[in-house]
């Protein structure tokens, strides 16, 4: 097949792709990159046109002869296209390395895995960090406000570019799960199966509220400079770190935090009667914040959280059932018992909507105390469920067992 492997081959982008373009001072670490929205521009939900934009992606495994074994992995808020293998920026394993690879649930001996950096992201796909050709400066707040649907439309252009008529599966957790739902609703003929994980058919008021705290933290940082920090050679690191810290709490659970840290002190025997990180949990959160700013763009954080806020299938289609009416897609909805950011009742509401649309749906709640982040973890029951569902769907799709 003409689509090459690319686990670690940023040099082997398919013909016609733009050369990886990098902001000054950074190595070209985006992997494959393709220019989409040309010659015809892509219409955004806001009504604006996006023309000739770059989209960065990675692939794992091999596309089969009839191009029927492709799985599109949709990443979450702070993820990127480096789902598996070693991440070129952080040097750590990709965010879903435990699920993608030979013999893993997303078995690269059997499936061709595609993961692209979302629209508005900051790892090579167009977003507020990229250069605005009209001004020669970073877009910053001149970048249009985007939606989950816009992200999906951009991914669909990538799938067209790769010559894949129908994806075997679209899968993702959290915001990635919202993209999965949007895919299944928008392009039902273009996917055989859909696996929305730890997600919901709408962003809840509580999640909008947490997003707003994060955005306000970023915008309150004087280094944000009205969004223009890149041109002014500075970065709102403190604001972005605080945004990450508050968000990180929502990814865990009270039980998991208590089990991990309790009230244990950090490198000291007694409290200091000061505002240093006395407690291990403080130190942990500070570390999460500090490491995050190295790899993420503050304006991207604003744009992506906004896209999540706007997601609401019922208001867009009248009802969840209406969004999936007559669908032939096989769904597997997964939730985690201790996830309070996307609680199981959100998944159950989604399942009720899918049932009302007479969709073929499986629904499993995994028992765990690890909170929302469970979708990134190697929980045996979770991975067995993914494997079983994909095996069943592959049999129905006529994919030969490996």
């Amino acid at each position: 097949m003409s689509i090459p492997h690319s686990q670690d081959s940023s040099e082997t982008a398919p013909l016609g792709d733009a050369a990886p373009k990098s902001p000054a001072g950074e190595a070209p670490q985006t992997g494959h990159r393709v220019v989409l929205g040309a010659p015809a521009p892509m219409k955004l939900d806001s009504g604006l046109d996006l023309a000739g934009f770059g989209l960065a992606y990675q692939t794992y495994g091999t596309l089969n002869a009839d191009r029927s074994n492709a799985i599109l992995v949709c990443h979450a808020l702070t993820g990127d296209q480096f789902a598996a293998g070693r991440h070129p920026v952080t040097g750590k394993p990709g965010w879903w390395d435990n699920a993608i690879g030979p013999g893993k649930p997303l078995d690269t001996d059997r499936y061709f895995i595609i993961c692209s950096n979302i629209l508005g992201g900051c790892m090579g796909t167009i977003g507020p960090k990229e250069t605005n050709p009209a001004t020669g400066k970073p877009y910053s707040l001149a970048f249009p406000v985007i939606t989950i649907g816009d992200m999906v439309n951009a991914q669909k252009l990538l799938i067209d570019h790769l010559g894949i008529e129908q994806l075997f599966c679209v899968i993702g957790g959290s915001m990635g799960g919202m993209q999965v739902l949007d895919w299944a609703s928008r392009y039902p003929e273009r996917l055989f199966a859909a696996v929305p994980i730890a997600t919901a058919a709408r962003c809840s008021a509580q999640n909008i509220a947490f997003h707003e705290v994060g955005r306000q933290a970023i915008m309150a940082d004087p280094e944000w400079r009205g969004g223009d920090y890149l041109s002014q050679n500075t970065r709102p690191e403190r604001g972005l770190a605080v945004a990450r810290m508050s968000a990180h709490i929502t990814y865990l659970s009270e039980t998991a935090l208590h089990r991990k840290f309790g009230r244990a002190l950090q490198d000291r025997k007694a409290i200091t009667y000061g505002f240093d990180a006395d407690f291990q949990v403080e130190s942990y959160l500070r570390h999460q914040g500090i490491t995050f700013v190295d790899r993420f763009d503050a304006n991207s954080y604003l744009y992506i959280t906004r896209a999540i806020d706007y997601f609401d299938m019922a208001s867009e289609h009248g009802s969840v059932a209406e969004a999936f009416k007559g669908t032939k897609v096989r769904f597997c909805v997964l939730s985690f018992s201790s996830d309070w950011m996307f609680p199981t009742y959100e998944s159950r509401a989604l399942v009720h909507g899918l049932n009302a649309a007479a969709a073929n749906v499986s629904f499993v709640e995994i028992q765990t105390d690890q909170g929302h982040d469970s979708f990134l973890l190697d929980i045996p029951d979770y991975h067995r469920t993914l494997t079983g569902f994909l095996n069943g769907a592959a049999a129905h799709r006529g994919l030969t067992a490996k």
Binding site: R330, S362, D381, G392
Partner: protein, 209 residues
Amino acid sequence: MTIPSLPTSNGRIRADLKLVADLVPSGTRVLDVGCGEGALLHHLAQTKNVDARGIELRQEGVNACVQQGLSVVQGNAETDLKDYPSDAFDYVILSQTLQAMRDPRGTLGELLRIGKHAIISFDNFGHWAMRLGLMFEGRVPVADGTRHKWYDTANIRPCTIRDFLTLCDDLGIEPERCFTVHGGGRTREVTPDSWRARLTARQAVFLLK
């Protein structure tokens, strides 16, 4: 006095499940309500090429099903069936679950709304051993009595074949076919008003429309 659980036939699926499976034509849309670990759904998917789906209350059962590649949702039949559109399925199956429901009457109506046909199997509390047990031992019959007592049995709404027929009559439901399951897993088709069937059947399987 109790009725032992039915033996498996040839180490494969239970006699009553085999009987239910035989009533389902190939290529149809089937919903198994209370599908457990998916034995019937798996059998149907393998042998009848049906569009097989399930709903199960117990999480372990659901996980086992989905891990086999079956399309099963975790949910409560008594609250979740209302979501399904009318005539979404050709056959809706309720095996050994009717008597565990809070509202068997409402559920039966829902089953025949979302399915063109329903297949219901249940323990017959009119079996002679049940009658004699109550009469001579003074003990309330418990169908799954090898494992349970009256206070922890899942069958909170025991009924006889006659009770079931009366309910069908009330709801205007017409039994199309009726089968009985006897000791050793033997099955036979009967007319529902046969007194002999009512006395000797350990379980009944009805095809309704």
